[in-house]
Symmetry: C2
Subunit: 405 residues, 2 copies
């Protein structure tokens, strides 16, 4: 009799975005004339930059000609892209990363989910709260986290400035996301150093999600965990072109696993983690599309970088409009400076969901209830800067009108 | 201390294609003037069809304009593609498949690898021998197959016409690949019916890899396992555009899981497998690129289907040239009619690898030693029809000259 993986039944049904969609839908049916503005889902609205469009069209032309057609590509990604990543994202910033430490993929969601496969089920996992739900769910699905082996939550609250404290107990795998989704908080060099030291002392591994790195403006905030001394022995870094270059529908990202990162067999024998991931990718993945990789490569041309900067600036300005507007309206607001996410404290002791309803019904704006990202997100609410400018301004005007005393 | 997934160390190091590459490389260095023809790896050589190129270019244009830009798409694939799949690949052939039973992906390698995640580690697995190594390896990597829980091999030999016999013991998961890689054998309706009955009686699930379906010419060979009565309760079907449409570097395929396919909890409770896969994909996958899906859609237009047929015909003609040439040269040859793979018996009791060396050194042709696909592949050798015509003809001429008595 074929048996299912029962770990799946330890997952909480993820009603967050479906509940939001349902509520919005019901509201619109009852109020067909109201213009609802959506600042909920973290999806981009600006189109692909011209440099990427040009490169991808050229790649398709190549694929249509026998002489330049390309079949199976390397599972780790083409060198033309890995060279750009190594140079622009690392070497130019003084970080020494080799091509064979870079694995190109179809996005950080797959990577952060799949990476769990190469580690033992007996590792203890620490996850910040609130955070991107995929970290927790993928560990539950494979049986690493359950009632007997609970996750160690690292609360990120107003009181600790949304900066997680080191766990009191030993953990083996630590998920850090900076700039953070959803709080928008970023870890300073000093903060991150503590974690790298912890990982080194405990022979733990930090899974560092830097998907929003491009939004960082502060000087003392790192763009890569490998800026921290010792991190090359203790960290795996995940990056994504989704928010940087509007690739949410194009699908491309990459993982960096330095050769120095080691894990252990039960008998204490040391194993190179990079080789484990390489084996995983060669067996269960067949490479990122050639056309996609040519698109990603184009982000690194001089023109490409300028075009990307312009888009990031656009979203940053949106974030500023939201942040300042909300502050003017009397809200306590976090994030929004080094991050496209604005994390606001729900006023008057209401719950995240109560505030969701209030915002939808009274000002026709959709956001995301903080509790959807974890228990510590209760009493908070996420708005995103990825909307278009006109809608963002209108949304904030409405909020100011409604809430400003 | 961070621990690795030690199941990985139960994998045999896969030296097959790296050993081939090394041997070819060494030969070429010693013999720089020899023209080596490669009929080894199963990668296509014809470019993308014009209809696909056109559609993908249009999709990129859309992605470059704000009005038509698309961000995150549905994890299950866009309906525009699922509708074409449902109609052309199933409903037009009298098979009733709904859109929500179709999951678009980045290829059959990922799908056949990832599907193992939704089932219990305690299921007993049966795999034909020889076969595509990913089935075995992915089950070893997750700990379903090891010394204590060995795989049940289903030998496919000359004696049984490369048709596996039903297992003598109970198995829960059965991998079938038809047309088969590497033997080129296809299961007739009658053969497949036995397997569907077995699965029904044993509450097993058949994982049916139909990646080479488009090459079928025989009338009594099924294009989909769902042509068999009862298969909708017992089978999951994997399809790929890699060989059909030259998508090896574009990456697109799909899985079909009918609603009727059930698996069980330890307590006997029935679970819909489709829902398990949906949860897996929604958590660990972020959808196939929009541009890729528009490319796949174009395969189904009237013009697209004609262009694809022409390419398939080209590879079929290659297969015919290889098959007939080898027969003329005195070889025992299998496959090559409903499949792009030619499976030849190594003459004079030599091993697969001895024949590999002989072919490389004496006629400068590269193929794949059968033993690389499993123990029962020893004494056999795979050639592929995916090369270009001129090289294929030259290769076979050389073989005829060398081997013909």
């Amino acid at each position: 009799m074929i048996k299912v993986n029962e770990n799946y039944f330890n997952l909480e049904e993820s009603y967050l975005f479906s509940t939001i969609a349902k509520k919005v839908n019901e509201y619109q049916i009852k109020n067909p004339n109201k213009k609802v503005i959506k600042l909920g889902i973290g999806d981009v609205t600006l189109p692909l930059i011209p440099e990427v469009v040009k490169a991808m069209k050229k790649a398709i032309e190549e694929m249509g000609q026998k002489e330049t057609f390309r079949g199976y590509g390397p599972e780790q990604g083409y060198d033309f892209l890995r060279e750009k990543i190594a140079k622009y994202d690392y070497q130019d910033k003084g970080i020494d990363i080799d091509l064979d430490e870079i694995f190109v993929s179809d996005g950080a969601k797959c990577d952060t989910g799949n990476i769990t496969e190469i580690f033992s089920k007996n590792n203890k996992v620490a996850i910040t709260d609130p955070v991107y739900p995929v970290y927790l769910d993928t560990n539950i699905m494979c049986g690493r986290i359950n009632k007997e082996k609970p996750v160690v939550y690292l609360p990120c609250t107003k009181e600790n400035n949304f900066m997680p404290e080191l766990p009191k107990e030993h953990v083996d795998i630590i998920y850090l996301c900076s700039p953070n989704n959803p709080t928008g908080a970023t870890m300073t060099k000093g903060e991150l150093k503590k974690w790298v030291e912890y990982a080194k002392n405990n022979k733990s591994i930090i899974l560092y999600d830097a998907a929003y790195e491009r939004f960082i403006q502060d000087q003392n905030t790192v763009h890569s965990i490998f800026e921290i001394e010792g991190a090359k022995e203790t960290a795996i870094e995940f990056k994504s072109y989704s928010k940087t270059a509007g690739f949410t529908g194009v699908r491309c990202g990459y993982v960096v696993i330095p050769k120095e990162v080691k894990a252990y067999k039960e008998n204490g024998e040391e194993v190179e983690v990079r080789k484990m991931w390489n084996r995983r990718q060669c067996t269960k993945f067949n490479g990122t599309p050639y056309i996609t990789q040519r698109g990603a490569e184009a982000i690194y041309t001089e023109r490409g970088r300028k075009e990307i900067d312009k888009n990031i600036e656009y979203y940053r300005e949106n974030a500023k409009i939201i942040k300042e507007g909300l502050e003017e309206a009397g809200f306590n607001v976090y994030g929004g400076i080094n991050s496209p996410y604005i994390w606001l404290e729900v006023p008057n002791g209401k719950s995240s969901w109560e505030f969701f309803d209030e915002l939808l019904e009274n000002v026709n704006i959709v956001g995301t209830p903080g509790v959807g990202f974890g228990k510590c997100g209760e009493g908070f609410f996420r708005l995103t800067a990825f909307g278009d400018r006109e809608n963002t301004i209108e949304a904030i005007d409405r909020i100011k009108k409604y809430y400003k005393k």
